[in-house]
């Protein structure tokens, strides 16, 4: 059971996602919410997206910190398909934006 408010919240600085391009090389970009994460997917160096996808960092952060196992599973599939380059950026952006839209529509007051 996904807690929508938990997934959509802004996390503490220590729990944010920090984008690296390789071991120890921090780009200066970070995301403290799913919304911010989506924006950063557009801007961050492709190498960073590939680095984190390969290391399973996106799945772990989305599942363990934000608590969204459904989105984590979708990203896991992307990793299994070994998508790289701009195709990775586009597909990751599509998956996350679709999920964000769904979550916002469910959590919005009726």
């Amino acid at each position: 059971m996904v807690s929508y408010s938990r997934v959509l919240r802004t996390v503490l600085r220590e729990e944010a996602f920090y984008f690296f391009t390789s071991i120890g090389n921090y780009t200066g970009q970070s995301a403290a919410s799913l919304e911010e994460f989506l924006q950063k997917i557009k801007d961050v160096d492709i190498k960073s997206l590939e680095f984190h996808l390969f290391r399973e960092d996106f799945e772990k952060w989305i599942a363990l910190t934000l608590g969204d196992n459904i989105l984590a599973e979708e990203i896991k599939i992307l990793r299994a398909q070994k998508v790289v380059g701009n195709a990775l950026r586009d597909r990751l952006y599509f998956i996350v934006s679709r999920r964000l839209k769904d979550l916002k529509s469910v959590s919005a007051p009726k």
Binding site: I23, G28, S30
Partner: protein
Amino acid sequence: MATKSKSTLGLGGMRLKGQEATLDDLDWQILRLLQENAKQTYTEIGNKLNVAHSTVYDRIQKMEEYGFIKKYEAIVDSEKMRISQITAQMTIRTDPKETESIAKKLTKFSQVLEVSTSFSEELVIIAKVVAQDQAELHSFIAKSIAPLPGVLRIRTAIVTKKYKEERFSLASRENYSKKKE
């Protein structure tokens, strides 16, 4: 080679220039020998420099007292001890307002061996870090360093082979002498 120096002002060979203590030739030679092997006895050092062991004792005491000698340490060969450890050099670009605060925070981590600031094109912090492996190194940087307020970017180079490691250079002595003149 041994040089006997004049003892002045009751400071062994050290002299007070204003409020600042300075070293003479004998002090430098003792330091060089201690750098090679800090476990040598006063007598061994005295024999090599052709001075009494009591002189060596006195000089070392004074150099410790005045902070010229900060500490004695064992240099461990981690390979021989079969300790799996990697070393990396981090260059951290920071918000200038936060540089000092970040540098101080870095000194608190046991994984960080050295911290200094440097200015070339921009002000950066340079830090030497150790970790068990690359995964641990990355985790430490991602969880403990990147989130520090004011950290703008980090570049990390993992040391693959070390060709020389000295803590102190005798070249410093020439600069020291020039400065005194």
